[in-house]
Structure formats: structure tokens, C-alpha cells
């Protein structure tokens, strides 16, 4: 009998294609958006995990501002990262070098100013003042030329990211050309290799212009320390070194812990926490579209039931029981939602391919997500079909036969 209901449902959906399409729209949007968002979240998590394994285990990151490793989601937290710069000073960096068990320290200082080449400004990059161990610490190779050495720390040289080379110089290896920052001329001595996807979580190298710290200081203006990278000695326990650094810096800050010392995984997770929470939040919003989709189905099904009053009367007169009418109409909304879910899955898969091709993001749509979202979609269809179907089943055959519809 269920097969019969299915055939009847297909026949009536075929009978009003445009309307059925509209009915499914809510489910289609719900399924595809939930799947894409969950897929993006999964993708970012995968990228983070990969990145964690790539970054040296002995890396410690010091950031300004107190940052709890995991915080409940709120709009305030989204803002706070930007407003908490400035609590790290050059003194902190120098003192960290003296902490026991620290092998090397690399500051990441944001230099205010805009780089230009050939009178063209490069707005989308960051000028960073740093020191020579940076490529080793981040395991970020230099493709052309070389990173500046400790001896060059006062020389006016620069190492640029891949994107800067492409966008500002518009060539692959502008080694030997010079760029200007605040009227000062810097010679490009190295170009980084394309940074691996996902590493943006720590520092975006691709659009960075790196200057030796000492040389950058001579520019005048301020250098804001946005991060300090520390490499612990290989033989040392990273956690105890991090603890030592914390103690030392608390002394520097007059007893106040207005900075954060993060070990490898913490650093990466804290960076991605906000994104992940945002994804969960958006997925929640997308689930609302399921509810809207369900209401859409219910609405159209109610309209269908009153429009097909006469049909219901005929079917009852020739021997359909109320249960059979109920089954037939529930099946219709089930078929609608299954079709909607299928189209939604197809759209999601297609857009995830598009996202992979056009952006750095790598959404992962697992079979588990497909099954889960489809089940939710179909459950939505059944639930929203019940009331209209019950209305159809309750109809009195005599009055239904008299109806004009």
C-alpha cells in the first residue's frame, strides 16, 4: 500500500510542478545551507588539525590581552581581540629571551605605514618588524632569495609574501627591487613560498612585508607587538617553560596578567575558536530555515487539501478509508521533503566544490552529515504533513462530493 501512496504522491506532484518546487524551496535552502556551513566548520577543523601537526611542538605564543583558551560565544569576544593590543612591550620580548629553557624569541611587530612600489600603494598587506629566526620557527620556507640574517638587522631590507610579490610587484621574484615605507627605501632580499592553507591562523605570511626589527625602528612611529613567538629548548618541557615565561612577564606587568601565553595547540585553537563558534551559530540560524521550510510545506499542503476536496470525496466514495487518505497525503509531503533534501544535498555538494576551487577554504561534507541533515529534512516533512493530511482524512465524503473543487 505504501508503494501505492508513493505513486499517487508522485502523480500529484507531477501534476503541479511549479507549486511543488516552491513547496520544496524551504527544505532545499535549509538542507544546503546547513550542509555547507557544517562542511566549512569541518573543513576548518581539519585544516587546524593539520596545521597543529605541522607547527613545531616547542612553539609558544605570547599575545597581548588576557585570552581564555575557550570562551562562551558572544559579540564582545569577537571584538576584544583587536582592542587588546599594546600590552606587550619590547621589554617583555627582551626579558623572555632571558627565561630559562628559551632557545629563541621572535617578535611580530606591526609597523604603521603603507608600502609602495613604483608609486603604487599596497593597502592590503601588513608591515611586520621581526627578527631572523622567524622562517625556522614557523617552518615557512623562503622561495627566492633568503631571509635576512642577524647581521642584516640594521640593513634596509625586506622579505615579502607571495601575495605581495604578485599584487604589488606583479612578478614572481622581485628580488633586488625596492619598495618604500614612509619614504624609506627597502630592498627586497627574499620572497616567501606560498604559505600553506590554514596557517593564517597564526600569521598570514602571504600578504606580509617583513622588515628587520632594528631597521624598522629607525622609521620612527610605533611598533605594536601583536605576538611574540618563543621556541623552547628541545630538551625542555614546553609547559614548564611557558610557566616560567608567564611568571617573568607578570613581574614586568606589575603583577597583572594582561597577556596570554599559549602552547602550540592552544594558540591554534584559540584563534579558530571564534570561527568555530560563529559556524555553530550560523548553522543554528540555518536550522531555522528548516522550520520555515516545514511551515511552507504545511501551508501548501493545507491549500492542496482544500483544493482537492472533491478528489478526496471521490476517493472516499469509491472505498478509500480515512487512514488511506491520511497515508496518501502524508506520503505526499514526505516525497516533497525527500525530493527537497535530495536537491539540497546536490546543491551543497556542488557549492562545496565551487568553494574549494575559488577560495582557500576546504569544506568537508561527510556522509554522516548528509544522512543526518536528510533525516532532519524528512522528519520536517512528515511533521508538517500530519495536520493537513488529518484534515483531508476527516473530510465528510458527501460534502466533499458537493464541493466545486
Amino acid at each position: 500500500m505504501i508503494l501505492e501512496y508513493f505513486k499517487m504522491a508522485l502523480a500529484s506532484i507531477r501534476g503541479s510542478k511549479f507549486r511543488s518546487m516552491l513547496t520544496m524551496l524551504g527544505i532545499i535552502i535549509g538542507v544546503s545551507s546547513v550542509m555547507i556551513i557544517v562542511g566549512l566548520g569541518e573543513g576548518v577543523r581539519g585544516q587546524v588539525a593539520q596545521q597543529v601537526s605541522e607547527v613545531s611542538e616547542s612553539l609558544i605564543v605570547i599575545r597581548p590581552g588576557k585570552q581564555a583558551p575557550s570562551r562562551p560565544f558572544s559579540l564582545d569576544n569577537l571584538r576584544s581581540n583587536d582592542s587588546r593590543t599594546g600590552s606587550l612591550s619590547e621589554q617583555d620580548w627582551r626579558d623572555t629571551e632571558k627565561v630559562e629553557g628559551v632557545q629563541s624569541v621572535v617578535p611580530i611587530g606591526i609597523v604603521s605605514g603603507v608600502a609602495s612600489y613604483d608609486d603604487v600603494d599596497y593597502d592590503s598587506g601588513t608591515i611586520i618588524a621581526t627578527t631572523s629566526p622567524l622562517p625556522d620557527l614557523l617552518e615557512q620556507p623562503v622561495e627566492f632569495g633568503a631571509f635576512f640574517t642577524p647581521e642584516e638587522s640594521r640593513r634596509q631590507v625586506a622579505v615579502i609574501g607571495r601575495a605581495v610579490a604578485d599584487d604589488l610587484f606583479q612578478e614572481a621574484a622581485p628580488v633586488g627591487k625596492s619598495l618604500f615605507v614612509r619614504g624609506q627605501r627597502y630592498i627586497v632580499v627574499g620572497v616567501f613560498a606560498q604559505q600553506k592553507q590554514g596557517t593564517f591562523a597564526v600569521l598570514n605570511v602571504n600578504n606580509s612585508i617583513m622588515l628587520p626589527y632594528e631597521a624598522a625602528r629607525e622609521l620612527g612611529g610605533t611598533i605594536q607587538l601583536s605576538q611574540v613567538y618563543v621556541e623552547a629548548e628541545a630538551s625542555r618541557d614546553v609547559s614548564s617553560v611557558a610557566g616560567n615565561i608567564t611568571e617573568r612577564l607578570i613581574d614586568n606587568h606589575a603583577g597583572q596578567e594582561d597577556f596570554t601565553v599559549l602552547e602550540r595547540e592552544e594558540a591554534l585553537e584559540a584563534t579558530n575558536e571564534t570561527f568555530y563558534q560563529l559556524a555553530v551559530f550560523t548553522a543554528g540560524v540555518a536550522f531555522i530555515s528548516f522550520i520555515v521550510g516545514g511551515i511552507g510545506i504545511m501551508n501548501i499542503m493545507f491549500a492542496t487539501v482544500s483544493e482537492r476536496t472533491r478528489e478526496i470525496g471521490i476517493r472516499k466514495a469509491i472505498g478509500a478509508t480515512s487512514q488511506q487518505i491520511l497515508g496518501q497525503f502524508i506520503m505526499e509531503s514526505v516525497v516533497l521533503s525527500i525530493l527537497g533534501a535530495m536537491i539540497g544535498v546536490a546543491i551543497a555538494l556542488l557549492s562545496s566544490v565551487l568553494i574549494r576551487v575559488t577560495t582557500d577554504l576546504q569544506p568537508i561534507i561527510t556522509p554522516r552529515v548528509i544522512v543526518l541533515v536528510s533525516v532532519i529534512a524528512i522528519a520536517t516533512g512528515v511533521t508538517s504533513g500530519i495536520l493537513p493530511a488529518a484534515k483531508a482524512a476527516r473530510k465528510d465524503p458527501i460534502e466533499s462530493l458537493r464541493s466545486q473543487n
Binding site: 500500500m1 501505492e4 505513486k7 499517487m8 502523480a11 500529484s12 501534476g15 472533491r310 478528489e311 470525496g313 471521490i314 476517493r315 472516499k316 466514495a317 469509491i318 472505498g319 478509500a320 478509508t321 480515512s322 487512514q323 488511506q324 465524503p397 458527501i398 462530493l401
Partner: protein, 294 residues
């Protein structure tokens, strides 16, 4: 043993002053193989009787035995199943599903019985052949004429080999030629041994029946067996006799009442009414003149 037996069957609609007695303690028994025509003016209760016999409606009081089984108090599901297996309906407006093909329409009662599609369509082929429409199987209802549609409906009514076929004004929407074809077909169906119950307004159609029931105000006035092919004189007389109580007659009664007791009704007596009539006539004339001027 009669196929259908009803005893003191009543159907009452509404409450209090608005109560309408559609059927007033009717008793009737129908034997297998009869062709019964039910006649009567609108509101005489014949449609209500058909609905109850067809198990689409329930009586307020009384008994209804179908094949010696009490069916009047069965659950709706059980009644739907009896409808499906034992009763074939033919409606004035055909009532085919427009989105299904002819053969699917005919096979539909079997679908609700759970018969597989192949067997279902085969059975439908057979009955469609019986009604002479085997070449129209995959047409849709809107591609067929009224007479053909009614033959499809007859095929649908026959597919379950029902105990009784209930036809509600089967020729009401048809021209006289199609009506004749349909009636001849119903006659054949009857001759094959089916029991047919037909409601009609048209006295000439009673010639196909072998028993005529005349209803009035929820009662059976005449119940008479006749030879097939004959319109009984009593029916003709009855039709004529009962026709005299038309709406005009009722109005005449009312005016007679008003003459008798004008005060109680507080409506002014007849003479003034006639004056107003003449006034209205002159008004009509004047409007006509205006129309001409325009």
C-alpha cells in the same frame, strides 16, 4: 433473503425548530437483481436514502441490513471497506479524477483494496471493454465526451463486482442521445445480474426499471413493480398529481391564509398586492422606454 433490508429508517438534520426530517421511518427491502428507480421531487429524501444505502451517511434511527449484515453502526473504516467491495457509485457529474488516465480511474477502487498495479490494470481493461471504451484507456477525462465519461464511471462501479450499483441521476448531465447509450448500458449491466438503484427526475427513464419507488417528504409514496420497458401509468399519474403542488400553489395557499387572517399576519390583504403588481409592471414599461431613448 433480500439483499438490502431497511426497517423504520429515519434521518433527521438539525435541532429544535430547524429540525428537518429527511427520511421518516422508511422500510424497504431490495432483492438481488432488481433495477429500482427512485423518483420524487427535490427535497423528498431520495438522495439522503441513496447516501445511507451507499454507506456515505448514517441513519439517525432504524436498521440497515446489507447481505443480512447490520451495517448502519459499523465504524467508518468498515463502512469504507464495504463501499469499496460491495457498492459501485455512478454520479450525475461523473466524478472521475482529472489527473488520472481513464484506465487508472477505473482501477482506482482496486488500488485501495491493495491489488497490484498489473492485475489492477488488467481488470480495468476487462470492464472498459465491457462498456466499449477499450480504445480510450490512456486518455484523460477531459479528452472524452460526457456520455463516454459516464460509461467510464460505470466501468469503475463494476470493477469490484459490487452487490449493488447506486446511480444518482446518471443521465442528468447528458444530452438525450448519450443518455440513451448510458441507460442501455445500465440495462445490460442489470441483465448481467447486477442490482441497480437509480435516482432520477425523468419519468421516461423508469421504463428501464422493474420497480419504481416514489418518494415525497421523506416517505415512500408508491412502491410498485412493473415490467421492464413500461412506464407505469400510476407513476405518470403520481408525477402529474404531485406536480400540482408547485411553488405557485404554495404561494396560493399563503395568500389564502392571508385573506383568512389578515390581522394576525399584519400584512395587507390581496387587493393592495395586485395594485403593487400593476405598479411594478408600469415601472418595467418606463424603464423600457428609457432604454429606447438611450
Amino acid at each position: 433473503m433480500p439483499l438490502i433490508e431497511i426497517k423504520e429508517l429515519s434521518k433527521v438534520y438539525g435541532f429544535g425548530d430547524a429540525t428537518t426530517i429527511a427520511l421518516d421511518e422508511i422500510s424497504l427491502s431490495i432483492n438481488r437483481g432488481e433495477f429500482i428507480a427512485i423518483m420524487g421531487p427535490s427535497g423528498s429524501g431520495k438522495t439522503t436514502l441513496m447516501n445511507i444505502l451507499g454507506l456515505l451517511d448514517r441513519p439517525t434511527h432504524g436498521e440497515y441490513k446489507l447481505s443480512n449484515q447490520h451495517v448502519e453502526r459499523k465504524t467508518k473504516i468498515a463502512q469504507a471497506m464495504i463501499r469499496r467491495d460491495n457498492i459501485g457509485f455512478i454520479f450525475q457529474s461523473f466524478n472521475l479524477l482529472p489527473r488520472l488516465t481513464i484506465i487508472e480511474n477505473v482501477a482506482l477502487p482496486l488500488a485501495y483494496k491493495g491489488v497490484y498495479q498489473k492485475r489492477r490494470l488488467k481488470a480495468a481493461e476487462v470492464v472498459l471493454d465491457q462498456v466499449g471504451l477499450s480504445d480510450k484507456e490512456y486518455y484523460y477525462p477531459n479528452q472524452l465526451s460526457g456520455g463516454q465519461l459516464q460509461r467510464v464511471a460505470i466501468a469503475r462501479a463494476l470493477i469490484n463486482d459490487p452487490s449493488i450499483i447506486i446511480a444518482d441521476e446518471p443521465t442528468g448531465n447528458l444530452d438525450s442521445v448519450s443518455a440513451r447509450v448510458v441507460m442501455e448500458l445500465l440495462k445490460e449491466v442489470h441483465e448481467l445480474g447486477n442490482t441497480v438503484l437509480m435516482v432520477t427526475h425523468n419519468p421516461s427513464l423508469t421504463r428501464y426499471a422493474d420497480r419504481i419507488i416514489y418518494m415525497h417528504d421523506g416517505n415512500i409514496v408508491y412502491d410498485e413493480s412493473t415490467a421492464v420497458g413500461e412506464v407505469p401509468k400510476r407513476v405518470q399519474k403520481a408525477v402529474e398529481a404531485l406536480r400540482t403542488s408547485t411553488d405557485d400553489d404554495k404561494l396560493a395557499d399563503v395568500s389564502a391564509m392571508m385573506e383568512e387572517m389578515p390581522e394576525q399576519l399584519s400584512i395587507k390583504p390581496v387587493p393592495k398586492k395586485s395594485k403593487s403588481k400593476s405598479k411594478s409592471k408600469t415601472k418595467v414599461k418606463s424603464t423600457r422606454k428609457k432604454g429606447k431613448k438611450k
